[in-house]
């Protein structure tokens, strides 16, 4: 009973703040709402007996990624960005396209996942998750790490002004 109440409260929080993210004009408010939405999502994981996943959700998404987002938004000072006007056809395509994908997503989730969900508890222990990652799923795990490494190298290359590492002298001048 209490679990159900908690679920509906945080489900409402997640949905409302997700709507605020896309509807509010202020980017900082949007970023903070996304944090609230992520937090509500973490509560869902707790209700699903997966506290490990919930903690990681908050640490990685709410605590790290969104802080960087907020950092960039504040640094660029994107407070009063006016959106360029959109044509009606663009609006129609946008709304209908996202509605199509949303309906398709709900349909397939209902059809294939929810009905066959194994009864919990899920992988809630850090040890079990570690064993699964490093034994059964070692190949995808390593692939993801290589992908991230490639992304980091790419970001460094792009920010390094024509492929050169920024020398200390040059940053001094830039400052």
């Amino acid at each position: 009973m209490i679990e159900l109440l908690i679920f509906f409260f945080f489900a409402a929080v997640a949905v409302i703040f997700a709507l605020v993210v896309i509807l509010h004009r202020n980017t900082v408010v949007g970023a903070l709402s996304l944090v609230a939405s992520f937090f509500a999502l973490a509560v869902m994981y707790v209700l699903l007996d997966a506290p490990f996943l919930a903690a990681l959700q908050v640490i990685v998404y709410a605590g790290a990624i969104m802080v960087l987002f907020l950092f960039v938004i504040m640094l660029l000072n994107l407070q009063h960005v006016s959106e360029p006007a959109t044509r009606p056809i663009q609006q129609f395509l946008g709304y209908s396209g996202s509605a199509f994908f949303g309906i398709a997503l709900v349909y397939y989730i209902v059809k294939y996942t929810v009905l066959q969900l194994p009864p919990g508890p899920f992988l809630s222990d850090a040890r079990l998750i570690g064993v699964a990652l490093f034994e059964a799923y070692i190949f995808p795990f390593e692939m993801v790490s290589i992908l991230l490494l490639a992304a980091i190298v790419g970001a460094l290359l792009l920010s390094g002004r024509g492929g050169q590492a920024p020398s200390p002298v040059r940053t001094e001048v830039a400052r």
Binding site: N26, V58, I59
Partner: protein
Amino acid sequence: MTIDRVDVVLEVVKILLVVGLLLNVVPIMVWVERRGSALIQDRLGPNRVGPFGLIQSMADALKFILKEDVIPLQANKWLYTLAPLFGLLPALTTIAVVPWGRPFFIPTEVMYGPRVSGACIVGAAVTAILAIVVAGGTAKYHRKPNYSRLNFTIGAIVATALFLVALGLIGVMFGIKAAGALHLPGGGRLFEPIIADVNVGILLIFALASLSVYGITTAGWSSANKFSLFGGIRASAQMISYELSLALSAVSVLMVAGSLRLTDVVAKQTGYFVLFDSVKIPAWNCFSPAIWLAMIVFIVSAFAETNRLPFDFAEAEAELVAGYHTEYSSMKFAMFFMSEYIAMTTMSALVVTLFFGGWDVPWYNEPPTLAGFLLSAIAFLAKVGFVLFVFVWVRWTIPRLKYDILMKIGWKVFLPLAIVNIVLVAWFIAERWI
């Protein structure tokens, strides 16, 4: 698992106790900070209100409540108002997974005897002496030329309250004597002095600690002040950098304990390292040859994570007026103040739990009784108090770094050191040395 009424009552008692203690740490720490800084700088510090200025913090709190609450015209009112809460809530909730004493079996009944009456009389005597000291101090300053009526009133109220507590303790003693024995409803069950013993304990702490930066960042942005904005931006960059080394240095401890649960981390430290078959050293992680490096990284990162000098770049009075809370006044400012000290206390509790044996009393095995629990809780509080004093000590000893140096040592020194320590611990574990 069934939940009965006694469990709920015990849980509520635990929460009230811990939150009450945390909130009361704030005025005490403000006093320690001001008097401690005075001691270090060879000044007197606030010594007018009450004995040794102990009640100064209460006068300060009253002042905060009575001040006008200003919201800047250009500020984003909602976020400006909510920002102090964003900071305070994570700071208050993090302590829930930290164990603060030895688990013990609640006695079924307390018989009236010399131990009960002795405890009540000693407690009453101590509170009565405190009350007399406060009353005497208040009366003494009453005669001085620079006395204020507010301070006098506060001193009188505190003294009266202490007297009432002393009388209450005597009353409890006679009550138990009249009844013969005090029957406890939760008798026989195990009392675990931790609010939530979850199996992802330390991760929960890092999750909530990582949210605490939003208070500072939001405050900085919503104030519509360039100094505040700089403070907020600095705080977010700093937190991201130091959270990594903080979490990675904690990993070493978790590898030794083999669990994310903080009660397991403490249980692992209650044993002994035996040197030369004769010298027994408590198996606290700070004495472990594999972990001291992580301990240094963790404690320094904790300073950065709680925005304390030498890493308080979000405030940086010399550069940013008052940083993120430049525009804040009244209780909103006081809430930032509170969250700083509460976060500091939580960090100290975490340092003690991870590296200084938690509630463990060295060279002594506490029995699982009420006395053993009290002893271990006092040991825990004493250790936390010491780490808190180190926080104050460092603040008034080491000057603020430069911001680029902060970033440099975060990424280029502490992060590699934490990773090196993980490899070191893995080696020790593989060789079965620990």
